[in-house]
Amino acid sequence: MKSANRELVDRLAAEYVLGTLRGRARRRFERWLLSPQVGALVKAWEQRLEGLEPRLDPVTPPATVWRGVEKKLELRKLQRQPAMRWLAVAASLVFFAVIGVFITRPPAQPQLTQQSSLQADPQTIYWRVEILGDNQELNLHVNVVHDLPPGKSHELWALPEGGGAPVSLGLMPHTGEGHRVLNASQRAALAISKQIAVSLEPEGGSPTGAPTGPVLLVAPLAPA
């Protein structure tokens, strides 16, 4: 970042954290939060201004608030499944431990055929995307985790050659790894794509089926 730019962005970061950056300016600034440099400036201001936090008497909220949270997150469904979840984790650990002794790759997994690094620069690779088999499956690895603006998701797109409409390949994981099996239209789109892209979308993904937010990263697909 140039130093004049850096000063301006730092000023915006300060007012973003203070809360006086409003309206469209606030929304525009939120798009920049994906950049690690901007994220660092915001974090620094968050720490500086913590000193302004008031000392308040706690106020217990009514029980309806927790019930609303439970409903929105469908926590009761999760609660009913913990035993099953751990059983599944344990079973898969045993499976891979046993399989790993005999073979290096589970036979059901198709071969790695193409890959791509979604990066801001060579030092900052956000995600690695691997395409397996004949565009059948995706492996997604998070390399660098960064903050998402509240209420947003990252969505992956295939960009068909010749200017065809981007086709969604689903949401990007926040941390760790993801794997998914692609459907027929996703496979067809990838077969004629040489590039993929990530856009910033409302939580849960684009409501229209086409990218609605800014395209953050575009990267070429390369043979593995």
Partner: protein
């Protein structure tokens, strides 16, 4: 009463957040019980309407659950992290609704007027010294913005100052605060 004594210990909150990141709903409930009265008080201070604050508090905990994996436990600032989420949720709501902030009668009573007094959240080194260096107008503007979530326009109205002055006090105040905090940090 020293209210910082009643705050849950940071390390416990950080551990609960880590368990939330692993989808542990019992830990989430515990985290909610320990922190929701703090965040609710903070939201009431900004939003001033109970029904609105209750609604936003739901969104705050939805986000805390969804973003628990992004909390950096080694920094050990769990409560500050959650309060920041609450503040941004409140600002988002005010931005969406262009809310006119009319206070409920009961809400004035919970607010403690001691500005620049971080409730249990660790202050940066020399924060008190640096905030005292600012003039009264600037300090008041920063407090109204940060603590109460007031916009430039609202601050101008509340303090009966021209909008331009308010904007420039805030801008200069932030810069002065940053410079003071960084120079103090170097000398200590």
């Amino acid at each position: 009463m020293n209210r910082t004594d009643t705050l849950p210990p940071e390390i416990e909150l950080a551990q609960l957040l880590q368990r939330c990141a692993a989808a542990d709903t019992a830990a989430f409930r515990k985290l909610y019980d320990k922190t929701s009265p703090i965040l609710f008080a903070r939201l009431l201070r900004m939003l001033r309407r109970r029904s609105v604050a209750e609604e936003v508090l739901q969104d705050v905990y939805v986000r805390i659950w969804q973003r628990a994996s992004q909390f950096e436990a080694h920094r050990g600032r769990a409560l500050a992290w959650m309060v920041t989420i609450a503040r941004y949720c409140a600002i988002d709501l005010m931005r969406r609704e262009r809310m006119t902030l009319v206070s409920d009668d009961a809400i004035g009573e919970i607010a403690d007027e001691s500005a620049a007094d971080s409730g249990g959240i660790e202050k940066p080194n020399n924060f008190d010294f640096c905030i005292e260096q600012l003039n009264d107008n600037t300090r008041r503007c920063l407090t109204l913005a940060f603590v109460e979530g007031r916009s430039h326009d609202e601050i101008a109205q509340l303090t009966t100052n021209p909008l331009g002055s308010v904007k420039s006090w805030i801008r200069r105040g932030l810069l002065a605060l940053k410079q003071c905090l960084s120079s103090e940090r170097q000398t200590t």
